[in-house]
Symmetry: D3
Amino acid sequence: MKAYLTRAYMFSASHRLHCVDFSPEKNVEVYGKCNNPHGHGHNYRIEVTVAGQVDPKLGMICDLGELDTFVQNEILERYGLANLNTFPEFKDVVPTTENLSVEIFNRIRSGFNPAQVTKVRIQETAMNSFEYSGGAALRN
Amino acid sequence: MKAYLTRAYMFSASHRLHCVDFSPEKNVEVYGKCNNPHGHGHNYRIEVTVAGQVDPKLGMICDLGELDTFVQNEILERYGLANLNTFPEFKDVVPTTENLSVEIFNRIRSGFNPAQVTKVRIQETAMNSFEYSGGAALRN
Amino acid sequence: MKAYLTRAYMFSASHRLHCVDFSPEKNVEVYGKCNNPHGHGHNYRIEVTVAGQVDPKLGMICDLGELDTFVQNEILERYGLANLNTFPEFKDVVPTTENLSVEIFNRIRSGFNPAQVTKVRIQETAMNSFEYSGGAALRN
Amino acid sequence: MKAYLTRAYMFSASHRLHCVDFSPEKNVEVYGKCNNPHGHGHNYRIEVTVAGQVDPKLGMICDLGELDTFVQNEILERYGLANLNTFPEFKDVVPTTENLSVEIFNRIRSGFNPAQVTKVRIQETAMNSFEYSGGAALRN
Amino acid sequence: MKAYLTRAYMFSASHRLHCVDFSPEKNVEVYGKCNNPHGHGHNYRIEVTVAGQVDPKLGMICDLGELDTFVQNEILERYGLANLNTFPEFKDVVPTTENLSVEIFNRIRSGFNPAQVTKVRIQETAMNSFEYSGGAALRN
Amino acid sequence: MKAYLTRAYMFSASHRLHCVDFSPEKNVEVYGKCNNPHGHGHNYRIEVTVAGQVDPKLGMICDLGELDTFVQNEILERYGLANLNTFPEFKDVVPTTENLSVEIFNRIRSGFNPAQVTKVRIQETAMNSFEYSGGAALRN
């Protein structure tokens, strides 16, 4: 009996969309105002879905408190109120929200053991969201 | 041509998370404040998804009014403004929202015939949701 | 590495649910007040999901601006602030939101090339939504 | 000790913005696509605020059930799934949401006695809302 | 130059609407299913509004962190995941959301000094909210 | 007969909270992580409220299209996808959302004539909002 638990988290950060392999003109053409050198930002709403059997005694897929602690320490502390371009994982990878969702998925998949993360969805604005459900790792 | 209709319903109820097989200390360790003997409560938002062919004349998967009547009579009347722990189905099963979503899914699956329920998702708070899409029944 | 981008759009329109093959009595029986000759309306929120590889340089599934332009020109300009029953595609097809989601899916699938649409979800009211993910075309 | 209770209701309806005193050209200039003869529609979310003393025994400003019954019978039954232009109150008054909020305010003010309505706010779309708090009646 | 800051907080709790001065029959008549002895519950969303001058150097009305700490310690720790009827302040006062908003307003007004609370609004369900802006204290 | 129209707009931007009159240590003490030199960002939802008589013929307080054009040209083009600290108005004024709401209010009050702006409310995150209704201008 498989069930899914989705827990939402929020943090605010800034980013600049800029590809080091492109000329300045090409960067403006591709990213428009999102390429401005001073950056802009978002309130990111991260929805983490884990899947599993419902433990017949506990009635739970996993302990929400453990998931909260992991995400707080590994994701929110890291990216909250920060500029995404300043992190090593976004040195050669443009910090689009597509890539951010892959990065966050991989961090939870490799570090959180009590249940298996099956999806990370990031609401970037009221009108945009991105979703990633795993696959080959981003930079391999 | 398969399509999906999702209809949302809301009710408010209370529950206490307490497993009769655990010691009082173990219950507090597992459920924290959710184990307090007087219970607490939620506004549950239930999203019921049914799947089916779109009838080429009617342009509908099923009659929304029939689904509303079923859910009103079998789910909302039962659990609305009640304490979940007082129902026989939650005598030996902890009324976590995981188990509540399984119970509601099974009640719709076995009792509603005009279309097949394929998913029940329960939003427990603004930050938590649980989803169940069937499988072996909970207590078999 | 497959990822999903979902972009939401909104427009307001009116419709009347009425099947030309039914008698007036049958239409009232099936559609209730939705069959009233003067119609009623909704704020439709359309969520378009496209799937694809995240381009390793761009960090994007597809150019959001291109999707916006397509949907603006082909969907929002067409149906926004209009009466759905006045369009040829709803001459013999009842403009239920089920059928509207099939129609919009097919228009995007056949006309938008930069990425593959995999789902169209329409939120008709705060409590109802419909989702279509393709299959045989509606009228073939 | 004054307190405020706000209760939300939803209905879907259609309207056409058209002023009988204007030429066809002037109507198009003023109302744009909202003047199209077939109309368009919205999901209106009506928020009714009543003010009063909190009854020291009951702990309530007024009985919510009485307000629900009044609004159901006098507002939702009337306008729900209908075309606003077909009502006598909008024969000479353009059924903009501004005027709809005045009309609904006046109907509640004159017909509902258990507590005093102090504000009607109508959310017309996710981006627009209108609010009316009384004053001289609309057509006097 | 007066400005307003509104900060939202959420907690889940249960309550039973029951007036000790009423007969059992009268309690059922007044409160309906909300009078059931086992209680029911809600996700309460509390919106606290404080008013003040914007400090010309800091650019702030008050330190958000101080408000968060106060509300966390005095309100959320107290009522979160609890049953409202078990508190002394609701021994003789029915824990309706009207009375809860008065109680929370008074606790903030008397205990939080950095800025003046001017309104407490409690969203009880998606359709109900209550608002209190001060006045004579509840039980005087 | 006074009525209110509120129109919402959204833009994403970044800012850094830093007061040039404070020492680095004092800036960290006051603004915490919001003082990091690379900034962070938000999706700002701006709600502009204008008040006025409802024109008896038009049924409108003012032409929504004119308000949209003004806000698009003067506010959204300016601040959208930008870094607030780079503008002259925030050279000596910390771009907190309190100050941003004052700045936007003053720009609309002095430049938009068809109706009088009475309130600007900015939702900074899902949990914070700021509201300004005029008074002495910010820097006089």
